[in-house]
Amino acid sequence: MEWIIERGRTKEQALEKALKKLGARPEEVKVELLEKNKGFLSFLGDRSVKVKVSYINQENDIEETEEMSNELKEAKQVLLAIVEKMGIPCTVDGENGPEGLYLTIRSDKGGLIIGKRGETLDALQYIVTKIIQKRAKRKMTILVDTEDYRKRGEEKLTDLARTMAARVKQTGQSVTLRNLTTRERKLIHTLFKEEPEIETISQGDGITKTLVITLRGKSKNEWIN
């Protein structure tokens, strides 16, 4: 939530200053009186009022949370139904995360749920996302994990990308990584965003998209074609 603390001679003055800085209208904010300086210095003109002004989105907030938790509930139900129909007894936990909905499957058949290189987990995530997006009529991110597979995968991928980048720096030759998901490519792009020597480029389209790790500023013609 955005807020600002502002001083003024009077509460009104402080509020006005704060509204200007926030660029908000009076009906959009909540005002809290923090302190009123009425001490002995007041006769010197140091009479100040400190207010905290913050945006109220309460109605929207509540609505959004309700919507989110409904979607979360549905996503949990759908995933649970699918995994159970696969013949795997399980429970599904869910929470709202910064990127979207996070669903975790708990069962004693982790290997089966993950699949070869995570392909079953990816398939489950893909199908649940499709179903919930259709129901909610909007795009959203749903992440499905079990036994911290994704977390471990991210660490491995980070290691791999760093090793490859070191090789690129040493040899000057670009490295191409295939068969990455959108998320995995994004993770690598973010990893090297601030890196002065390394550049990462997504190349190609659809399911054959590849990610190229190359020296920054290396002639673009060298890797196209």
Partner: protein
């Protein structure tokens, strides 16, 4: 197996009541024929066949548990 595909397909299409799944079970393989209503075939195939592939992957994981191979055929 039939229930699994039926559940997923019904959740993806616009006409869930027109989804039909036939299961033909052999000794080592089972064939599932998925039929959907007019205009819904794209929904179960998806962009570049991604949805169909995801359903096959899920189906195969379930079949592995029964030590079988499963084949999903999509018909209109």
């Amino acid at each position: 197996m039939r229930d699994l595909i039926l559940y997923i397909a019904r959740a993806l299409v616009d006409l869930p009541e027109e989804v039909v799944v036939n299961e033909v079970e052999g000794e080592k393989t089972m064939v599932l024929e998925l039929r959907v209503g007019k205009g819904d075939i794209g929904k179960v195939i998806g962009k570049e066949g991604k949805t169909a592939r995801a359903m096959r992957v899920i189906l195969n994981a379930a079949a592995t548990k029964l030590r079988k191979r499963a084949v999903l055929e999509i018909l209109e």
